[in-house]
Symmetry: C2
Subunit: 251 residues, 2 copies
């Protein structure tokens, strides 16, 4: 237990990146706060070179912001930034779905999607969903979205979707865990699953407009989840990403 960063098979750069990201998401580095390289060295236990690399990577991941005079600070997000990021993801996933529909997807390509669909179906059948069920849903949901995005067959589109979804509050499953204690949870999950089913149907029938529209609306479920969670103030500790929100983001 002499090394601090955990698994020694990872490169120092990746280790530093993970450690710093965890710190930021945990809210231990507050938004707007300048994060010096030396400080990051102390946190991560690696030397300045990989720390520097990790900071650059976190910057274009969107969690850090470069300071003109040099160095980085933790980026501040407004609530609106979050909503816009979700809308942005929905728009791009809508594009991906439309392209998939217009260009056609073979039965072979659709098969894993349908399997995923069935798995989720089975999951949401249980009426009182356990926390473990929510966890499983998050994983399956992520897989479904990834496979769906792949269907468009366009590397640039996939790349951009991944970039947006890398933000902790814009990923398809960002606020799923937050609803695990809400009464509306089960209903929302079933609606989400209906969207999943519809988009596959639309792609199968080459209905590009329908596929696009449903994916856009699908993303907006995340907004509903977020609003519900914020309103009921329940289990906010399940949303570490909210530490990044500032009431008045300077921008």
């Amino acid at each position: 237990m002499s090394e601090r960063g955990g698994d020694r098979s990872l490169s120092q750069t990746v280790r530093a990146q993970l450690a710093l990201r965890d710190m930021i998401l945990a809210g231990r580095l507050r938004a707007g706060e300048r994060i010096s390289e030396l400080q990051a060295v102390d946190i991560t236990g690696v030397s300045r070179t990989p720390v520097r690399m990790a900071l650059v990577r976190l910057e274009d991941e969107g969690l850090l912001q470069a300071i003109p005079s040099g160095g980085f600070m933790v980026k501040a997000f407004s609530e609106r930034d979050i909503l816009d990021s979700i809308e942005l993801r929905g728009t791009m996933e809508g594009l991906a779905a439309r392209l998939a529909a217009e260009r056609g997807a073979s039965a072979r390509q659709l098969e894993p999607l349908k399997e995923c669909l069935a798995d989720i179906d089975e999951l949401v059948q249980q009426d009182p969903l356990s926390v473990e069920a929510f966890s499983a849903y998050v994983a399956l949901n992520a897989r479904f979205h990834a496979q769906l995005d792949e269907l468009c067959g366009s590397a640039p589109v996939i790349r951009q979707i991944e970039r947006v979804a890398a933000l902790p509050f814009a990923s398809p499953s960002a606020f799923v865990m937050a609803q695990s204690a809400l009464p509306e949870a089960h209903q929302i999950l079933m609606i989400a699953q209906d969207h999943h089913r519809i988009v596959i149907d639309a792609i199968e029938n080459r209905e590009g407009g329908r596929a696009e529209a449903v994916m856009r609306e699908h993303a907006r479920l995340a907004v509903r989840n977020l609003r519900l969670a914020l309103r009921s103030r329940s289990h906010l500790e399940l949303l570490p990403a909210l530490a990044l929100i500032t009431q008045a983001a300077d921008k």
Copy 2:
């Protein structure tokens, strides 16, 4: 003339980044080719640390691709990647225009846009457009798009648009210069300007759907430009970005 990289006021990292990007865009580093740090040091004349930084930045700019075992290679793009990137930009600019329309833009905000519109009007009035006029158009067009994107008031949206437009073949003015010798040039420019006018009108009247649709179609003009230029095979030297296209992009 002792220094190689040019302006000494820029940081070594930026200098290396510019030099390497120029080399790539000029096609002097072919797509798929591995680019070693030492080689980059030779090219740029700076030491390995800033070179490494520049390589990382060029990777998330999208021009380079990380090799699993370490290092980077010049990214290869298919013709379809280019078309998809343009569609992607159109989709996101459409989102920005829709948001601007839905959220409303004040007369004060719209004023610079209208000025830009008038400037372009004046430019496209000349019937045989000079090469200088095309250059001026590129600048004005870039300004118009930047201001339009800003109108949505959403930092995440603007950020993503900029990331896509950073690709040399996806920017709003990527293929304008290529048409400077085409007979259809003047007509296309006038159509583009009509799109500009329509989107402003739509935003002014809070017609979100119309604003979005016209921006999507507007981006597709770039596809037409590209196709025309490729078909006529004229002035391909005006399109340095095409050096990145490979017939069969390995992906």
